[in-house]
């Protein structure tokens, strides 16, 4: 839909933007339908607050409508929408931000002098699928993502959750491709460690039951 890349969808999107720029207000409704879920979901994954996400979605839709003439087509329309969504969401967060993210370094892998892993690494990847629908697991995953530092979090949400390409994420965030890759890798390492702690503890809990 709105943010996917197939040609027809893109052509429709471009036409809708042109129509709206030409004053055909009917196309606003269609654009809103195409984009509102993505706007809401991104905002919700950043704020974890339904009311804030609704406010942000309204603000972004209104900005699209009122500022459509300022969109010059230098980047993809969806990149423009993402940027407006991020700005609106960060404004919301700023008003009541308590810094709860923790240092990413603490959770990166550790190595001995010869570059071998120091920790005992358990492989819990086999048993997690069935836990996906478990509320506790979902909450743990959401909390882990909430704890990511902002710079890594947004790259992770756009690249891994939204499924955008590395290049597109770079365009939206004005980052180089290597910078996107490095932030994504750090985010994944951080989350892996958080989930490892959880699944290893989960296993012990089950075994001692």
């Amino acid at each position: 839909m709105g943010f996917s890349e197939p040609k027809e969808a893109k052509a429709e999107e471009e036409q809708l933007v042109k129509d709206l720029q030409a004053g055909k207000t009917e196309s606003f409704e269609r654009l809103a339908t195409l984009f509102q879920k993505k706007i809401y979901a991104l905002s919700f994954n950043l704020t974890r607050n339904a009311m804030d996400s609704e406010d942000v979605t309204q603000e972004v839709l209104l900005t699209l409508f009122k500022k459509i003439h300022t969109f010059q087509g230098k980047s993809a329309f969806s990149s423009w929408v993402y940027r407006i969504t991020l700005n609106a969401t960060y404004m919301k967060l700023r008003s009541r931000k308590k810094d709860q993210s923790i240092s990413i370094e603490e959770l990166l892998p550790s190595f001995n002098g010869s570059g071998f892993q120091q920790e005992k690494i358990q492989d819990w990847s086999e048993n997690t699928e069935s836990l996906l629908f478990d509320n506790e697991t979902r909450e743990t995953i959401q909390k882990a993502v909430d704890l990511l530092p902002d710079k890594e979090k947004i790259v992770f949400l756009l690249r891994d959750v939204e499924g955008l390409s590395t290049e597109k994420v770079g365009e939206i965030l004005e980052l180089t491709v290597p910078a996107v890759k490095s932030r994504l890798h750090r985010a994944r390492l951080f989350l892996r460690k958080k989930l490892a702690n959880y699944f290893e503890e989960y296993k012990v809990r089950k075994e001692t039951k």
Binding site: Y40, F111, I121, S125, L132, F156, L195
Partner: protein, 78 residues
């Protein structure tokens, strides 16, 4: 022989297929003899999958959809 540290630093590019073939091969040779790294790679991949599936399930509640529709209609005709 490359060490765990180098392998894990290259892991993102390895999984994306962005490495030179000979570098990929040396990672795979390391993995053959290193169960901790295999466990790491499996759980790294799993992490991405689990987080994606969990966070992608965010939907707009129906009541919010209705309010957004009203909002759009109102502004469209303003």
């Amino acid at each position: 022989m490359i060490c765990c540290k180098e392998c894990l630093e290259l892991l993102h590019d390895y999984l994306e297929g962005d490495l030179q073939p000979e570098v990929s091969t040396s990672l795979e040779e390391h993995f053959e003899d290193c169960p901790p790294c295999i466990a790491f790679v499996n759980t790294y991949k799993s992490t991405t999958h689990l987080c994606k599936t969990t966070l992608n399930s965010t939907e707009i509640p129906d009541i919010v959809k209705e309010r957004l529709k009203e909002f759009v209609d109102k502004n469209k005709n303003a």
